[in-house]
């Protein structure tokens, strides 16, 4: 009896379209990734405003201070606002020493190493919308005690 011989064949799948798509995805994620915003604390819910446009020029020296609450998973909080310094909650009373240390570092980095170096340092205050205003003002006072003079308040840009 004659049997028909079927030749065992191996067909390679065409990988080109998949590689094209993967490279496009890779390019997208590489462009969209933002390593700069690491100083922003996700626990802080910034207020929104239409006039809050990202600055066109960025200062070389800036000190970012996050003020917010230790929120529970449902978003509620105990009402005690703290400052997140290097990710750790610090009460307002304990922030002066770290601020003075930061000021020393900024001065050491500058050419003249005097208090004038701090005029070029912007203190960026990222405060939660529910934080009492008095606390933000007291934080500014503490910064002034540490000889910082430039301040910026952050808000999220609201679309029309």
């Amino acid at each position: 009896m004659k049997t028909k011989q079927i030749e065992a064949g191996f067909t390679e799948p065409d990988m080109t379209p998949m590689i094209d798509i993967v490279f496009q995805l890779l390019t997208f994620f590489m462009i969209a990734i933002n390593f700069e915003n690491t100083k922003a604390d996700e626990r802080v819910k910034l207020p929104t405003d239409m006039l809050a446009k990202p600055p066109e020029t960025k200062l070389d020296n800036e000190l970012v201070l996050n003020v917010g609450f230790n929120r529970r998973p449902d978003g509620s909080h105990n009402g005690n606002a703290v400052i997140f310094y290097n990710g750790d909650p610090v009460p307002l009373e304990g922030i002066l020493t770290p601020l003075q240390q930061e000021a020393t570092v900024f001065k050491a980095k500058s050419a003249d190493q005097s208090d004038k170096a701090l005029d070029d340092v912007a203190v960026i205050i990222r405060a939660d919308g529910e934080v009492p205003t008095g606390m933000v003002q007291e934080l500014i006072e503490k910064c002034q005690e540490a000889k910082f003079t430039k301040f910026s308040l952050k808000a999220i840009q609201k679309e029309k």
Partner: protein, 167 residues
């Protein structure tokens, strides 16, 4: 790439794609996991110089500060927004009124008056910070129909902080 064999025919040399695909997938996963979608953030500059204010230049006319006062209840809600002693209300329309009153005071955007004058924000301790951002924004300017910022007042400062209201 085709190459000539001993017999003179063409044969296909396959470049191994598997290692490249492995690496590309690893890179893709790395970037996907590290991607944080953050909304664009903007700045409002606050003018808080150290020490006593400098002596005024005698040749320059003295422009008094525009005082914006925000009164709050114990929960931090806005009770009254005042421009000088003039009450403007406590809702969104109050902030719109503040914006138009500031424009009336400076005359027109970009005028010399707008560059010299300073707004002093005087808020109660417990007032929620979001109201401050609203007030600063309304004093600073507005957006035109094309989304460009029209600047009103450049300099904003805070009055000395008040004591916390007793609980």
């Amino acid at each position: 790439m085709p190459k000539l064999t001993k017999t003179g025919g063409l044969s296909k040399v396959d470049i191994p794609m598997a290692p490249m695909i492995d690496i590309v997938f690893q890179l893709l996963i790395f970037f996907m996991l590290n991607l944080k979608i953050v909304a664009p953030e903007g700045n409002f500059n606050v003018n808080m110089p150290l020490g006593a204010p400098k002596a005024a230049d005698p040749d320059k006319p003295i422009t008094p500060d525009i005082k914006v006062k925000l009164q709050a209840d114990a929960n931090g809600n806005l009770v009254q927004l005042l421009l000088g002693d003039n009450p403007l209300g406590n809702d969104d329309r109050a902030f719109e009124r503040l914006n138009s009153e500031i424009l009336k005071l400076i005359g027109r955007p970009g005028a010399a008056m707008a560059q010299d004058v300073e707004v002093e924000i005087d808020a109660d301790y417990d007032l929620r910070y979001e109201y401050i951002i609203k007030a600063v924004s309304k004093c600073t300017g507005r957006l035109d129909s094309r989304g460009n910022v029209i600047r009103y007042v450049e300099k904003v400062k805070f009055a000395p902080p008040k004591k916390r209201a007793p609980a």
